[in-house]
């Protein structure tokens, strides 16, 4: 085991994948010589050459379009979109082409490739370096979407994505790239321990980030990405008030782990769903419907969402906008005391 933060885990996964398979190619803006603006691809070009670690022109539609062509031909492309806020020039390529290739070709042309892109706020990035666009991609049938919350899952999910026969988007929680929370790095976190060898985290399987202790009113939190840590902190606070949280870290958004969701929600009967993205048609809305459809008979309180507001992402007031521990805690109290 080695100590890694998320960036190091991503970098390690890419190194392993490129070393074990000549067919893996990394491409994106500034990923080569510079190693990426977040340093996720540092050292790759020096080791594997300019032909396999490609500094592309600054055009997202070209990065994804070309990666699709490589995938169709049989080369495994791992494309980086520097910030998910800049992914939209490639939206047509992703939703009309990448997502549909296998289906529209009657299964003749699968398009297995990977898109890595940092998501979420909390880095003082304003609305063009902070958005969480996951619901726009899970909506389009044909894309696998995963969202790791820690170094272990970041490496295991990325390696699983590279092995996958389907196109996979890996949404990396950029504000916790180097530590799980402000002022804290991954050094002391159990999920900062990452095996050095190749391993995969199964796509479609959630993790229980905090189990019920049996003391207090049980409540389920369903979340993913950086919000796992916000919610974890809220769960610790809530425990002092007699609220016992089971924290479900979805890890995969499409497909999602229905069994884990139903198991937890039907056990606790009280459910809070948290995501950073705006509320309107956000991922939490789908989870809310899923819980209601599958667990209605067990519910003791209305399914409650904690989300970003339905505004563009603000700059100066980002920490007012972002769902914080206090908002999660309030939701926990509301559902725990609902009668």
């Amino acid at each position: 085991m080695a100590k890694m933060n998320i960036i190091q885990a991503v970098n390690d996964a890419l190194h392993l994948a490129m070393k074990s398979d000549d067919n893996v190619v990394v491409l994106g803006e500034d990923v080569g010589k510079f190693g990426g603006v977040f340093r996720a691809t540092v050292g790759l070009q020096a080791e594997f050459g300019e032909d396999r670690v490609i500094d592309t022109p600054l055009a997202e539609a070209g990065i994804i379009g070309a990666a699709i062509g490589m995938a169709l031909y049989g080369v495994k492309a791992v494309a980086e979109i520097q910030f998910s806020d800049f992914i939209f020039p490639a939206y047509d390529q992703i939703v009309n082409e990448l997502a549909k290739y296998r289906y529209r070709s009657g299964g003749e042309y699968p398009c297995p490739m990977v898109i890595r892109t940092p998501v979420g706020g909390g880095i003082r990035g304003g609305h063009y370096h902070s958005q969480s666009p996951e619901s726009l991609f899970v909506h389009h049938a044909g894309l696998v979407v995963v969202a790791p919350s820690n170094p272990y899952d970041a490496k295991g999910l990325l390696l699983a994505a590279i092995d996958s026969p389907d196109p996979v988007m890996v949404l990396e929680p950029k504000r916790i790239y180097r530590g799980p929370d402000h002022g804290k790095n991954w050094g002391s976190h159990p999920k900062g321990e990452v095996p050095e060898a190749h391993f995969t985290v199964p796509i479609g399987k959630a993790a229980i980030a905090r189990e019920l202790t049996g003391e207090g009113t049980p409540v389920t939190i369903i979340t993913y990405g950086a919000m796992v840590h916000t919610c974890g902190k809220a769960a610790e606070e809530a425990a002092k008030e007699g609220i016992d949280v089971e924290l479900v870290d979805l890890r995969s958004l499409q497909p999602y782990d229905l069994d884990a969701i139903v198991a937890s929600a039907s056990k606790t009967g009280r459910v809070v769903i948290a995501n950073e993205a705006p509320r309107m048609c956000g991922y939490a809305a789908e989870m809310s419907a899923v819980v209601t459809e599958h667990c209605f008979d067990w519910l003791e309180a209305p399914v409650t969402r904690v989300t970003g507001y339905d505004t563009p992402f603000p700059y100066t007031l980002e920490f007012a906008y972002l769902p914080d521990t206090g908002r999660v805690l309030k939701a926990l109290r509301d559902v725990a005391t609902y009668a």
Partner: protein, 378 residues
């Protein structure tokens, strides 16, 4: 080899390459001599057959037997020419007006017709409109309706082939209207930087549905765009199939030699309507259509073959009759086949059907079994 292959510096030439004048007069005998006479006859027969298929398909669409059709009438040379010029290992990214690449490269005719009907043997399993086929065995990538998306993809395939050391080029097709899309510019730029062995084949047929060339661009030629991206640019008479073969061969040689990409602008004319949903009488003149009718790609090749004693009216009529019977018979067969299985709605979304799609499949089956569905199986 034209002069502009004498140097590795990409060159843009807007003087249209011609091998045969509209009346069939040979302008470049040396090039004609590179193509066996039997192939010239086969190419003519194929283009004539295509014209018959297109004519019959449009009629059958009018009769309500097809939902939709897109003919390539007037532009046959722009798909049969490149199909002839390239090799088995090369990759093709069609737009939607290039049936010639499928049929010349050996896509089974019945499969092509099955796609028009969307039946159980349609290669795309009835999931797309007619004219959106796929042909994996021929390295022809499946077709989508959004225009231009195939251009950067073609560059990706070209790059992948180069990375692997394969001797394959990738060609994509699009109309001049598509040259306004971002993907066109992005694709050409990537190809230039990567020296990708790609061929960008622009069918400049004068119209983007109803929008004429002068409302698409202020540039005199689409091929001029090549200069800005550091790739070769060539203009060709797109109604001269031999000239098309010539420029595509040169572009492929240029790519295989490691020099990179070529933008080919084929000046042609969409004698057909854009699709069966279009009526060109409302936006262009009969005189213009007649002018281009004289420059038809079939006419000139036929004239040449006749002077050589390789073709005559009897063969013409025999080919028309045989092609007509072939397409009508195949359509009858296609119409007799059942719809794709219900599974095909949920398969191929992912490599394996995930639990949520299995659940939705069960939901749909139960709905159909209830007799309350608007869908009537065939």
């Amino acid at each position: 080899m034209s002069d502009n292959l004498g140097t590795t510096a990409p060159h843009v030439s807007v003087e249209p390459v011609s091998v045969m004048a509209p009346d069939g007069t040979v302008l470049d005998q040396d090039f004609v001599d590179t193509i066996p006479e039997a192939d010239l006859v086969a190419l003519y027969e194929a283009m004539l057959a295509q014209r018959v298929y297109d004519d019959r398909m449009i009629k059958m669409q009018r009769q309500g037997r097809l939902g939709f059709y897109l003919a390539c009438t007037g532009e046959e040379a722009c798909s049969y020419g490149p199909a002839y010029a390239l090799q088995a290992q090369d990759w093709f990214y069609p737009a939607y007006r290039e049936p010639g690449i499928a049929l010349w490269r050996g896509m089974p005719f019945q499969a092509w017709i099955d796609n028009m009907v969307g039946n159980c043997d349609d290669p795309v399993k009835g999931r797309q409109m007619p004219v959106h086929w796929t042909a994996r065995a021929q390295n022809i990538v499946s077709i989508s309706s959004p225009v231009g998306t195939q251009i950067p993809q073609c560059v990706g395939s070209a790059y992948a082939a180069k990375l692997r050391g394969d001797d394959a080029v990738s060609i994509c097709f699009f109309g001049e209207g598509t040259s306004s899309e971002g993907d066109f510019h992005v694709g050409l730029n990537f190809a230039g930087v990567w020296k990708a062995p790609a061929i960008f084949f622009c069918r400049n047929n004068g119209y983007a549905i109803s929008t004429p060339y002068e409302k698409t661009t202020a540039a005199k030629h689409i091929a001029l765009r090549a200069h800005g991206y550091g790739i070769r640019g060539v203009v060709v008479d797109g109604n001269d199939i031999l000239a098309v073969i010539k420029v595509v061969r040169e572009a492929a040689e240029w790519g295989r030699a490691g020099h990179g990409a070529t933008l080919i602008e084929a000046k042609t004319y969409r004698i057909a309507a854009h699709s069966t949903s279009d009526d060109p009488t409302s936006y262009r003149t009969r005189e213009e259509e007649a002018h281009w009718g004289e420059r038809c790609p079939l006419k000139r090749l036929r004239a040449y073959l006749e002077t050589k004693g390789l073709w005559d009216e009897a063969r013409e009529q025999a080919c028309i009759t045989a092609s007509s019977e072939r397409v009508i018979s195949a359509l009858g067969v296609a119409e007799g086949k059942p719809h794709p299985d219900l599974d095909t709605v949920f398969d191929d979304v992912f490599a394996e059907r995930p639990a949520h799609l299995q659940a939705q499949y069960s939901e749909l089956k139960a709905h159909l079994a209830s007799g309350q569905s608007a869908y009537k199986p065939k």
